[in-house]
Structure formats: C-alpha cells, structure tokens
C-alpha cells in the first residue's frame, strides 16, 4: 500500500455532511449583515480595558516584576529572542527552561528558532519535550564551548526541495570560518571547498597566520563534494587578515603513496607544518610524517609500518619529537615519533592495574595533558583480553547481540567499566598527576584562560535502542572539568545531557 494512499485513506470519512453545510450556511444567511463594526470596536475596547487593568495590577506586584526581570536577564544571558513574546509568555518560557519541563509550546518555538541557526544536524527520534530539552542542551553546550579567542567554524546547510517535492534534501553549502579575538569577530571567510558533514575542522595559530585543517567528503569520480564520497584531508593557511594564502588537499601530499589521506594530525610552528597521516600499501597500514614549508610544499617525508589501523587525530611536541594521538571509533592510542621519524613507539599508560586509553592530547608549555578512558584490567595475564574487546568491539549489528541483561544490570556493568581520567606528563615525560572521575567517559580537551578544560560524560542511564541498529543508547550528563596547569581540579560545571550510542557487546560477561 502506498504511503500517500494510507495517509489519505485515514481521512476518507471526513466529509461535509448536508446537516453541517445547512447549519453553517443558514447561520451565515441569518447573520446577513456583517456584525456591527461598532460592536467589534466596543468588544475590543472592553478586552483592551480589562487587559490594561489586569496588566496594571500584575505589574504593580513586586513578585511579578522580579520574576519578569529575572526572565529578561535569562533571555539576555542566553541570547534568546524576545520578539513576539508577551510578558507572560516570557516568564513562562523562562520557568519552563529553568524547571527543565520543556512542555510550553513557545519554549519549543524559541529553541527551534535559535538552534536551527546553530546547527541543523541535531535531528533525533526523541519526541515532544525530550527533543526540545535535547535541542536546548545542545544550544547551551555550543555557547559554553564558544570560541572567545581563536577560530570558529560553522557548517552552512540549507534544506531544499527535491524535484518531486515529496521530501527535503540537506544541501551542504560550505564552511564559515571566523577569527574571534576577545569575543569579537576579526575576520570571516566563507569557503565552499569544505564539506565536513559535522566533522569539525581544527586549527593552529602561528605568528604568520592560521592553519585550518580537517576532513572533507569528496566523490573521487566527479571530484564534487558529496557525503557519499570518500573523505579527504584539507589544510589551508590564512594570513592575519583572513585571506587564504594556499589550500592543499590529500592529493598534494600523497607523494609516491597510492593513497589520499582521509585524516591527518598537524603540528605547526614558525618553520611550517609537520603532518601525520595514515596510508595503506598492500593492505598494510603506515603512519607517515611529512614536513611542509610555509608555502605548503612538502620538503621531507618518511613512513613507518603500524600494526593497528588507526588514524592520526591530533599531535603535539614531546621531548625531541612528537606525540601523535591515533583513533578509531572508541579506540585511542598515543605514539611517540622522533623528530627524524625513525623512532616510532606506542606509549602505553598502565598504572595500578588500570590501562588508560587516550582520547585527546594537548601540550601547553612543555607539559602534556591526556584525556583518557581509565579501564580496569580484569585479567593479569591478558591485558588486552576480553574486557578490552568488550569495550571496544565495533560490531553494531543488534540482531547478533546476545543481550540478556535488563537496563538496570546493563547500567551497572557499563558504569563499572568506565572512568574518565586526566593524565599530566611533565617536561621530561614523567607522569606528574592523574585525576579520575568515576563512572564517566572522557572527552575532548581545551586550553582556555590559562586553564585546562576537559569534557567528562557521566553515565546516568542506559537503554536498549529500539529504533536503530545500535545495541544501547547511553544517557550522559556532560560536564566541563576545569584544571590548573598542574592538573588540580578547580571546579566542574554541568552543561547538558547527551545521548550517545554504545558499542559494547555483553557476551564476555555471560561466559
């Protein structure tokens, strides 16, 4: 049965009956002349008078005034639009958000309006107030992570009608790149060479300009940007006025390798850029290191075989070489590469029966900060045994999952598995601090206002994902932990609730 037919058939019985037609038309004829304009005017005058009296009364009460002022402050603080809202609606929206109920329809309208401008990728299957709450959390998160000094990138996406007008297509238009200095936009550049589909580009600043780099989707056959195409790496250098000095893609740096880079980590300094990439040769994975001058031209390169298929995601200076963070879904590793690229070794962090899986790294003034998942090693003789496979299993086919746990049991297991950690290595590479947050998952690192900010996702709930092929959804409270440069916790701020899928199979627990 076609979709249109099913939908339309539901209305088959809804028709104008003779009785109804006669009733309406008789009423219209009996009314004959339009209702007196004077009556209408009088009626509205009464309404207006009553409204003014009511408004005067309510405004006079201090409690009401305070509530309203609070609401206005809240609107200003969060840059919410006040247009079109009455005083009462403003207060209701304020209360609705503060109480976290998200049930008032004006709240939904406002949040929809502001979040559509921020992102159009947050479409979920959660209905009603949950969806509104989710949109709001994303909005707050975006604002908290807003760039005050640095480069801000925003995907520009439009919805357009398909030719048959039966559905909408997302059209990726490009990337807006802005340099922010003390919360003010210094320059803006719109670049349609990008097609990130949510994989946010990174940047690094030098005295001579700013490198923006990341992954873009491209169709190899047509060379047009398309989300169905393959990823390629883009790096571009902006001068201090926001002009693009050069833009290079993976193909530039393929050199003699039969591959285009899909992911790269970049370390930039006054001499140029050191680029870390992943290539494949004869089904083997290699980590490459390419030095590039300030004009974007490759001047030296080396490749090293690497036994695990992982992509470089971030890099920083370390001793006489570099630390490169590799990643693949949930997996994370850090490798050390000497400056001449001849030494390559995996850095493992095993402390007191716990292995730390790096998620992000930062180097600030010689100290290295590592955001990592702290995973207990369950078997002394097999550190990468069942438990690691359990956590990092990438099979997501729900039909194959031997799920025998209920939500409560599953939550307990998952919370037992995960702790979030911040590791600090001093200038000599020695571990100088470890901070652990129980029952949480580690996220990204940011350096802002002289402090280290770590994203920490505390696991609140877990539920079987009914409507998709993923085994579980995790509901997490997302926090930003602030650390001083020695790795001591300053404070923590909750900034939202997120829902993520969970790639774990529970088979090993049942053995």
């Amino acid at each position: 049965m076609s979709k249109e037919f099913s939908y339309k058939r539901a209305f088959d019985n809804v028709q104008v009956t003779e009785n109804f037609k006669n009733r309406v038309l008789n009423n219209v004829r009996q009314a004959q002349k339009p209702i007196s304009r004077q009556y209408v005017t009088f009626k509205y005058a009464i309404y207006a008078l009553a409204f003014i009296l009511l408004l005067s009364f309510t405004v006079a009460t201090t409690v009401e005034a305070n509530e309203y002022n609070e609401a206005i402050e809240f609107f200003k603080e969060n840059e919410l639009p006040l247009e079109g809202l009455t005083r009462d609606e403003t207060k209701k929206v304020y209360k609705d958000i503060k109480l976290g109920t998200f049930s008032y329809e004006k709240t939904e309208e406002i949040i929809e309006k502001i979040t559509l401008n921020v992102s159009v990728t947050n479409l979920t299957n959660i209905v009603g107030s949950e969806e509104t709450a989710n949109l709001w959390n994303n909005y707050v998160a975006d604002r908290l992570l807003a760039v005050h000094n640095g480069i801000k990138t925003t995907d520009i996406i439009n919805y357009v009608d398909a030719e048959n007008n039966d559905y909408l297509i997302e059209r990726y238009k490009g990337l807006k790149i802005e340099k922010i200095v003390n919360s003010e936009v210094e320059w803006t550049y719109f670049d349609n060479a990008w097609n990130t589909y949510g994989e946010k580009p990174r940047y690094t600043q030098t005295s001579y300009g700013t490198y923006v780099y990341g992954v873009s989707y491209v169709d190899r056959d047509t060379n047009e940007y398309n989300y169905k195409g393959e990823k390629q790496f883009i790096i571009e250098l902006f001068d201090n006025d926001g002009n693009v000095l050069w833009r290079k893609t993976s193909a530039t740096y393929a050199i003699n390798y039969p591959f285009t880079y899909s992911s790269c980590a970049v370390y930039a300094d006054e001499n140029g850029v050191t680029l870390f990439g992943r290539i494949y040769e004869d089904n083997d994975c290699y980590i490459t290191m390419i030095k590039i001058n300030k004009d974007g031209e490759p001047i030296w390169h080396i490749k090293n075989h690497y036994p695990v298929d992982m992509a470089p995601e971030s890099a920083c200076k370390y001793k006489n070489g570099y630390l490169v963070k590799l990643g693949n879904y949930e997996k994370g590793q850090v490798v050390f590469m000497s400056d001449d690229g001849k030494t390559i070794e995996q850095k493992t962090f095993d402390i007191d029966g716990i292995r730390y899986y790096p998620q992000d790294i930062l180097n600030i003034d010689g100290k290295v900060y590592i955001s990592a998942m702290a995973i207990k090693v369950f078997k002394d003789d097999d550190i990468t045994g069942d438990i690691n496979r359990l956590i990092f299993d990438e099979k997501k086919d729900a039909e194959k999952l031997p799920i025998t746990l209920n939500d409560g049991e599953a939550l307990k297991k998952v919370r037992e598995i995960y702790d979030s950690a911040l590791l600090v290595l001093d200038e000599n590479g020695n571990l100088s601090a470890v901070n652990i947050t129980k029952h949480a998952r580690a996220g990204q690192l940011y350096f802002r206002d002289g402090n280290i900010h770590q994203q920490v996702k505390y696991i609140d709930a877990i539920s079987y994902a009914v409507y998709n092929s993923r085994p579980f959804d995790l509901v997490e409270s997302e926090y930003i932990f602030r650390f001083d440069i020695s790795g001591n916790v300053i404070d923590e701020t909750k900034w939202g609730v997120i829902v993520e899928w969970f790639p774990v199979r529970f088979e090993p627990f049942n053995k």
């Binding site: 979709k3 104008v16 038309l25 009314a31 339009p34 919805y159 007008n165 909408l168 409507y467």
Partner: protein
Amino acid sequence: MKIIVDNELIEKSFERYAPMLLRIAYQDTQNQADAEDAVQFAFMKMLEKRDFEDENNIIAWLIRVTINKTRNIVLSPWRKRNAQFKEDMWATPDYESMEILDAVKKLPKKYGTCVYLHYYEGYTIKEIARLLGENENTIGSRLIRARKKLIPFLKEDEQL
C-alpha cells in the same frame, strides 16, 4: 483588487475549502463535532471581515482561524472532561488508518498541520510557509522531524 466579503463569497468559500478545513481540524480534535465547531467558527468569523487581498489570503486566513479555534477547543478543560462521551461518525475506517491517525496525533500540533498540507493537499513547502506565516526552513525542518517521528509508529512500507 480587493475581494469584498459577502454571503456569496462565504458560500463559495465554504464549497471550496470546508472539506480541507474539516480534515485539518479533525487531525487535531479526532472528533467530528469539535472539528465542525471549529470550521463553523471560522466561517462565522469571516462575516466580521470587510475584505481580503486575494484568494490566497482567504484560504490562509481560514486555515489560521481554524487551527487557532481547534487549539482552543482541544485545550478546553470542558472538552477534556466530556470528549469521550461524544459520538463520532468519522471514526477511522480501518485499523491501519487508525494507526496512522494515531501516529499523526502524537506529533506536536504544528507538525501535524504541515504533514497534512504537504502530503494530503499537496502544498509545497513554500506555500505552507506562506499559509502558516512561518519561515520556509522552519516548515522544512518540521516536515523532516515529523517524518522521523512517524517512522517508529508506521510499518516500513507506510513510512512517509
């Protein structure tokens, strides 16, 4: 040239638009009597209008008044207490249709109106935006979300 409101215009508008307005109202009320009340209200309200800019203006105005009245009726405390005692000659013809109406009913009201205008009446996103006085992107976004929300409730071959 402006269209002056008189009985002839109202009767003509009733013939043309009453079926659509009833379906829009019914989608929200799920109740024949309430849907008829909302539509009758719109045509009686039309008497108070002096004129319209053009034909599009008439249909847009009628849809807005019907939707607003429907919302008032649906939110009325009286209706909440008494709705279950009313008879409904428009009860859905079969289980499948009932499932679809039920799924649409679970959508936020404004999503349901967009789905109806797009999939039943065949209005384009641009036209719906004009009729409802909304931004095109907002309507587009609502249609996408509505479709996503309907997926769990519908069988695969009935997904909009």
